[in-house]
């Protein structure tokens, strides 16, 4: 039954998600075509190049946001508007219905994330030659952020040394964070809609309020977490009597800020996602009241 639910949800969402994916491809192709011209080499056209680069980034962000909003609206319409009369009378348990929608939503957002990365890599490759991509990445990681004279004598630190991860570790963490963020975004969106159904009237307003409340709570939680995990060690170092802000201490402070940042974000988002996921399951099982 789960397979059938997933199949039909993919079919239904693809009506909008496929055109969005095609838009990603079209924007990338336009970028490649632009980079294929010699316009970038002309100094007087630098403002145009920068404008197009900003437009490209904004378009990717907009398409990603449209995807997320569409998936949440589709979930609402399919579950709690008139279409819910069909969805909730299917011979499937409410949690199976909910999980099928979670899976489909997460898969689409993952696909969009992959498209974004591939699009960026293609454009970097088109601008610099595709064989140079790995050397560009290597250059970024070995780039000296601090050199002799910045902080004391004989001190230098690469990007890797400052953030505390090498390129493979950072790639792994970034991939995990992307996956967890996708799960979190879908869980928050679908969870807000589901919790909003508990309001007797104005359920959509309720869902928006829950979403805004969750966003605010997460901002506070993230700030507190960053303070406790990342900034407190720095304050402890600074509070040490007679500490000298020389290179090694500075590097230690930078690392204590950046190194726990990814794991903290991963754990915070995973925790919040699981909480909203569980709340949604309880509501669709025990508290469904369609208008």
């Amino acid at each position: 039954m789960l397979g059938k639910l997933i199949k039909h949800d993919f079919k239904s969402t693809s009506k909008v998600m496929v055109p969005i994916s095609i838009a990603f491809v079209a924007i990338t192709l336009l970028g490649v075509l632009f980079l294929g011209t010699n316009l970038m080499q002309q100094e007087e056209l630098l403002p145009l190049t920068i404008t197009l680069l900003i437009a490209y980034i904004l378009m990717l962000i907009t398409l990603t946001m449209i995807s997320q909003i569409y998936l949440i609206v589709h979930f609402y319409r399919n579950m709690f508007s008139s279409q819910g009369y069909l969805t909730f009378t299917l011979p499937a348990s409410p949690q199976k219905i909910f999980h099928s929608k979670m899976l489909v939503g997460c898969t689409w957002l993952l696909f969009i994330s992959v498209l974004t990365v591939v699009s960026a890599l293609i454009l970097i490759g088109a601008a610099s030659g595709f064989e140079n991509i790995s050397s560009i990445i290597h250059e970024i990681f070995s780039m000296q952020l601090f050199t002799n004279g910045n902080l004391g004598t004989d001190f230098s630190a690469s990007f890797t040394e400052v953030i505390g991860y090498n390129s493979s570790q950072l790639l792994l963490l970034f991939s995990i964070l992307t996956l967890i963020s996708i799960y979190y975004n879908i869980a928050v969106g679908y969870g807000s809609v589901t919790i909003g159904q508990l309001y007797a009237k104005h359920k959509v307003v309720g869902a928006v309020l829950v979403y805004a409340g969750t966003y605010l709570l997460m901002q506070i939680l993230t700030t507190v977490t960053i303070f406790l995990v990342c900034l407190k060690p720095v304050l402890d170092i600074l509070a040490t009597p007679e500490v000298e802000l020389e290179g090694a201490v500075f590097l230690q402070m930078m690392r204590s800020i950046y190194r726990p940042m990814f794991p903290s974000m991963i754990l915070t988002q995973l925790g919040a996602g699981i909480l909203l996921h569980i709340a949604s399951i309880v509501i669709v099982n025990k508290k469904v009241n369609l208008d």
Binding site: K15, Q83, Y85, T89, L90, S93, V288
Partner: protein, 231 residues
Amino acid sequence: MTLLECKHLTKKFGKRNVLSDISLQVNGGHIIGLLGPNGSGKTTLIKLICGLLTPTSGEIYVNEMPIGTSSKKVISYLPDHSYLNDWMRVRDIIDYFEDFYEDFESIRAYDMLAKLKINPSDKLKTMSKGTKEKVQLILVMSRRADLYILDEPIAGVDPAARDYILDTILSNYDENASILISTHLISDIENILDQVIFLQNGVIRLHTFVDDIRQKEQKSVDALFREVFKC
């Protein structure tokens, strides 16, 4: 075996009691009219049986099983409004029903569509309200369900279409199955009913056989309804 049983069913919206302590039993092989004025709780009762609302208190059993996946397998439900994706073609919806309901017979659905000259390739959004209602009824009646629950199936269609709908209902349900029909248009359907439930202010005023009304009260269901619910 009792097909449908409600035990002390109560539903409140906020502080307002919409259904109060409803208890009823329905066996297989009957056509039951669920009758009552606006706001009497007919649709609420139907939605509770279909699992679209959660009771405040009380229990509901279908084939002696609580409301859940097993009850949804045997209930074929027609809501009082359009509930299908407008962008879907009739053929897509038939595939959808065939995928999910083991008792759905697509041959019957296509046959009924052909009789009504409805093109299966048409999208719902291109159809009139009446045609959409006919498509929904065709889908619901193409199942071999134990319990058909039809909420206002003839409310939005012309008298000629009403006859077709009633004929479709009668000629497509299994004689061991039961049909629960909610409607205001009593005179149109009273000839096909064999039981009636009168609901008033969330309470069952009467649950009896139509023949008993005719013999004991010497009245039609329509006449009795007008008398009971006189404003």
